[in-house]
Symmetry: C2
Subunit: 438 residues, 2 copies
Amino acid sequence: MRLSRYFLPTLKEAPSDAQIVSHKLMLRAGLIRQEAAGIYAWLPLGLRVLRKIEQIVREEQVRAGAVELLMPTLQLADLWRESGRYDAYGPEMLRITDRHERELLYGPTNEEMITDIFRGYVKSYKSLPLNLFHIQWKFRDERRPRFGVMRGREFLMKDAYSFDIDEAAARKSYNRMFVAYLNTFARMGLKAVPMRADTGPIGGDLSHEFIVLADTGESEVFCDRKLVEMPAPGGDVDWNDLQSIVDERTALYAATEEMHDAARFERETAEGDRLSARGIEVGHIFYFGTKYSAPMKARVAGPDGKDTDVHMGSYGVGVSRLLGAIIEAGHDEAGIIWPDAVAPFDVVVINLRSSDAACSAACEDAVARLEAAGKDVLYDDTDERPGGKFATADLIGVPWQLTIGPKGLADGVVELKRRATGEKVSIPLDQAMTRLTA
Amino acid sequence: MRLSRYFLPTLKEAPSDAQIVSHKLMLRAGLIRQEAAGIYAWLPLGLRVLRKIEQIVREEQVRAGAVELLMPTLQLADLWRESGRYDAYGPEMLRITDRHERELLYGPTNEEMITDIFRGYVKSYKSLPLNLFHIQWKFRDERRPRFGVMRGREFLMKDAYSFDIDEAAARKSYNRMFVAYLNTFARMGLKAVPMRADTGPIGGDLSHEFIVLADTGESEVFCDRKLVEMPAPGGDVDWNDLQSIVDERTALYAATEEMHDAARFERETAEGDRLSARGIEVGHIFYFGTKYSAPMKARVAGPDGKDTDVHMGSYGVGVSRLLGAIIEAGHDEAGIIWPDAVAPFDVVVINLRSSDAACSAACEDAVARLEAAGKDVLYDDTDERPGGKFATADLIGVPWQLTIGPKGLADGVVELKRRATGEKVSIPLDQAMTRLTA
């Protein structure tokens, strides 16, 4: 992508109402633009990151056996009356009346709708286990939206819903999502720690939050350091028996502020391993039994022929929020430092003198070779001065910067910089190509 | 994908309120489920097709130089007051009040928001031409939603917006979208004819609708048969000079009912070429000059240093509606006939006896080989009887059916069926693999 034909509106200064670093950097780097309180447009660079995050989430859901569908943003109020949540949900639910005076709402979550879809089609235990997920825009009318996409009102969420014949089977589904989440966040370069969580208004008796540790986190968390250091299990596991993987982690102390028990923390954790830090919630999984299936009559015939309420769980990932969390966990004075897997581009090729035909030809050749190798390349072909180009490249946080100028070309070298470490090397172009495409 | 682990709820009968064939088939084949009047959930099979259509639309937009971003579904009413459309739009606009009594609306289109984004960042003619597009859910509160996704309320639309320094440049942008649309619809296996259109409430003086011809089309259209037969120009064109490609087509008579002039039709079209047919609108492009930029003060400094209102166009494709149009144009008594490029799966492998270990092993081997070749495969591993499997395969319209049974295997053959033609051949598995992966 040629920067001169792209739309990358960076800002020198973030608006003063942006309080946290990720919000400031997302505005400055031209990732988002505020359209109303807590409602953002995703500018081209931000959208690229959002889609990469979304795709990682999707792939790990599918690997864990979940099937993707897509529910609409608007829902009928009557559906929420069946579960009793229409009145219980409070002012965070955006309620809407259409031209025929029918009551709708902008979905803040989808337990009711997915339960309705399930009961409409599934009649036998033979169709279980079933886990259906979607990645769709949600709306929660936060009283005080802030922190950019970290606490927005219109936000992108992945929500999965599992259906099982009994609690034992439901726990297997829960474990699959537990492991999928460990892998999902690890692929994004994040350390996300599962913590026992309060089940809150959604109900149920088994729940974990996945918390990214970052100094600017919204809440305090407490955990055993060993949990942070434990690597993700990866995809090559026995998906039918994950209990030991889950147990290994849940055996270690980890709790959010609401669930924290200082005495237990001291008792169960060695002194050197007691970690108290700030955290950002990026995922939340629940097992809630028959909370929705019972009132909504989502039943299947069991092996004995008798109808039984299905056992359900729900599993959320804050897809748009993850951009904020990733930036909170990875940035420096100069700007964002994207992990490779979610970076909007893999490489930015910086042309130090776009008025120079030989220099531009060398750049275009490099871009073509990188693209042929399947890399996403941003080509800064503008006539801005070098200092400005470097500042933009650092700000937007692309993992590799390949700088090509007439002087280097005369000496047979280009400059390759790794954004995360700042390490720079002057090497022949071919050598840079080998490094970037290896 | 194993059918036994998928979610493909087909129906024997379509609900009686489904009037047209595409709506009936989308419900029967388990593509969509109605959640409210004109609001649908996309079941897994339907979502696969939707995403393939969306991706073709995206690729052709990018090829024509448009840059993707993503605007939110909800917008501030005040933005629409600037253009004067908040009051003009009428009851099709879904108006919403949030908890702080701020007026929002669910975007039916995005001229105002994109103009606001543009004016927020772009200050010089040097940044032009610029074409920004997004693919996002929209809402229009149709008085009488019907025909499934053809006239839904919540629908997926691609809308692009071009910004140029003057009318001559804007016409070049218009031409780029004109050609992009010809290529887009051709890639989906559709004959979409550009027709001069009324500019309607959106305003402006140059507009074409792209109409798919289908017996069940919503309106009558009139055109020169040569226009239908003309192939799409393809991507290998001079994107900076498309006037001759556009002229070649606009020189031929083509008009929707509202724009039809019977006398001109007779005068300009040879008798054997006069085609009158039913049509479905799948795209609409407009040039509307400074209609939004003037009231909203979207100005750039020109080469002379003076500020000038930018010239704009907008370009819509009904992404979700296209599923209906494609089915209207391609189906038979047994079900849907998907064009290869948008089919939810490339091949369905039908296991005639899943209780037979050798037969299942042969099926699994075939599936693995097809997937290794990059094919999307649905594997019917269920224990349904053969007749039911064939009926489902025909109903969901996957282009190729590969049937493997114990009897054929004993004879060293499998059956390969092309859904569109019904042609069946009994050939060795290796030969079938060669045909399917060539």
